[in-house]
């Protein structure tokens, strides 16, 4: 069992230091979000979000995820029910996706 005791979170439950993130932590966080098992499709999305999130300093939007991974919005909602952009960001150890201006 991965220990979350040393991991820093903000009030909304987003990790504040993306460098503390590991795949094991993602599995624990996914369970907290109600996703029992992370499948290859889940990982494809998480890996994409990690890569763009670390490169740009911002969590990708829903559309950036669908365009970047080729996975449809409908499937994205099936994989990460109710608010996938927010949920993936949380599991991927990134900040909350910013609202638009």
């Amino acid at each position: 069992m991965t220990d979350l005791a040393n991991i820093k979170f903000n009030a909304e439950g987003f990790m504040t230091d993306p460098n503390q993130w590991t795949k094991e932590i993602a599995e624990v966080l996914a369970k907290q979000e109600g996703i029992e098992t992370l499948t290859a499709d889940h990982w494809k999305i998480i890996d994409f979000c990690r890569a763009t999130g670390l490169a740009t300093g911002k969590s990708p939007t829903l559309r950036q995820i669908t365009v970047g991974t080729g996975i449809s919005t409908k499937d994205l909602f099936a994989l990460f029910p109710k608010g996938p952009a927010k949920k993936v960001a949380k599991i991927a150890g990134l900040g909350k996706p910013e609202g638009c201006v």
Binding site: R63, G68, K74, P81, G83, G99, C100, V101
Partner: protein
């Protein structure tokens, strides 16, 4: 002869063409502006058309009347941009080689991207007000509406003028109240945002107004599809919202040729440095207004505030000098709240809208985040000011954001 090419003759393109016609030596430079339209639209006026306050002649004027002397205006669609070769191909076959390019092609609605929106009920009981034709078609539907469920929906952000859906709701509430049937109309606002607006202080203030007007907000609503057989809007998390009349703000996207040219993001907005407004991909390309991917509101006031920065930076770049100016993301928006009142917000990249006073010598101060009749007159007067601006008459609004008059807590 060198060529300064501007794509788009809307608010940003028209202003830039005039600035460049004045700043450049026209014996050495040719300034060309291309637009697919022959009409210039006063887009903030679209909001008032469904309620019968404005007519076509109030918001539509010929583009030609705003094009500065010395500028060549070409009417054509744009076929392709090849930035590596400094080349634009028009739909009419003409090829233009440019030395500098300003992209000001704006943003458009794409109802066809939402299943069931364009292909079911569009123009019958589903409308938009982000185009002149959409707003004009909505007017009779509003006037014959005798009661039922009015659903206003933002499909996905970012959208042009993020306060316009709220203004539409406020005006609808006032319209049906004056008609004496407000008690028969249920008004719902479905938005992907967690609340009424993006910035916390303004979101709280505007949320309170929605509440007072008994407008129900369906927050964090990601539009999935429309089921026109049952007149129901469905979200990806399968919340169903029934409607008798739906006013949708469909997906907004930039022009497709920009995406194909490899200079834009996934919504076809040109990738630029948010302070210099220069393309991050090609140093001789700038993007202004709605066409750029900067994290500022897509609104006319933003264009007015960024114009000075863009002009100074482009001229410095031509002279081989460092770019002297940085855009701060400044936006200033009157928000109609119904019953001849309006509120005002003023913000930039780093300051969210605060309550207080907006000082404007001779006319103001205007009330920030308060609802006043003076703000409403400010909004209506803006239409005249806008057309003056398009003809090149300056208005004394400071470009940079200032905290003067505001209360930051």
């Amino acid at each position: 002869m060198k060529t300064f090419l501007i794509l788009g003759a809307g608010t940003a393109g028209t202003m830039m063409a005039r600035e460049m016609a004045h700043a450049l030596d026209l014996n050495q430079w040719k300034v060309i502006v291309v637009d697919k339209e022959e009409q210039h639209y006063y887009q903030p006026g679209f909001l008032f058309i469904p309620f019968g306050y404005y007519k076509r002649e109030d918001v539509v004027k010929p583009i030609r009347s705003f094009i500065a002397k010395g500028v060549e205006y070409v009417v054509s669609n744009i076929e392709a941009l090849e930035p590596a070769d400094n080349k634009v191909t028009l739909a009419n076959g003409r090829v233009i080689q440019y030395d500098y390019l300003v992209v000001a092609t704006g943003t458009d609605i794409h109802p066809e991207e939402t299943e069931g929106l364009k292909d079911g009920g569009w123009g019958e009981n589903i409308f938009d007000f982000y185009t002149y034709d959409g707003a004009a078609a909505l007017a009779p539907a509003i006037s014959r509406f005798q009661g039922g469920r009015l659903l206003v929906n933002v499909v996905e952000n970012p959208i042009k003028c993020p306060v316009a859906p709220l203004e539409f709701l406020f005006l609808a509430d006032a319209y049906f109240t004056r008609k004496g049937i407000r008690n028969k109309v249920e008004i719902t606002y479905a938005t992907p945002l967690p609340g009424a607006f993006t910035k916390p202080v303004a979101a709280a203030a505007l949320g309170k107004i929605l509440d007072e007007k008994h407008i129900h907000v369906e927050a964090e609503y990601n539009t999935g599809w429309v089921d026109p057989s049952r007149n129901v809007l469905v979200s990806y998390d399968e919340r169903e919202l029934p409607y008798d009349l739906m006013v949708s703000i469909p997906l907004n996207k930039g022009a497709a040729f920009l995406g194909a040219a490899g200079i834009a993001d996934e919504l076809n907005y040109v990738k630029v440095d948010k302070h210099t407004l220069q393309s991050t991909e090609y140093p001789n390309i700038w993007a202004l207004g709605d066409a750029a991917n900067i994290p500022a509101s897509k609104a006319g006031a933003v264009i007015h505030f960024q114009m000075g920065t863009a002009v100074k930076n482009i001229l410095a770049h031509m002279a081989g000098k460092p770019m002297p100016d940085a855009f701060d993301g400044h936006a200033l928006c009157y928000i109609e709240t119904g019953f001849d009142k309006a509120t005002l917000i003023d913000f930039d990249y780093t300051h969210e809208p605060f309550p207080g006073k907006y000082p404007l010598p001779g006319v103001g101060p205007f009330d920030l985040l308060g609802q006043t009749t003076l703000n409403h007159w400010g909004k209506l007067a803006f239409r005249y000011i806008y057309f003056l601006m398009m003809r090149g008459i300056e208005v004394p609004l400071p470009n940079k954001f200032s905290m003067a008059g505001k209360r930051a807590a």
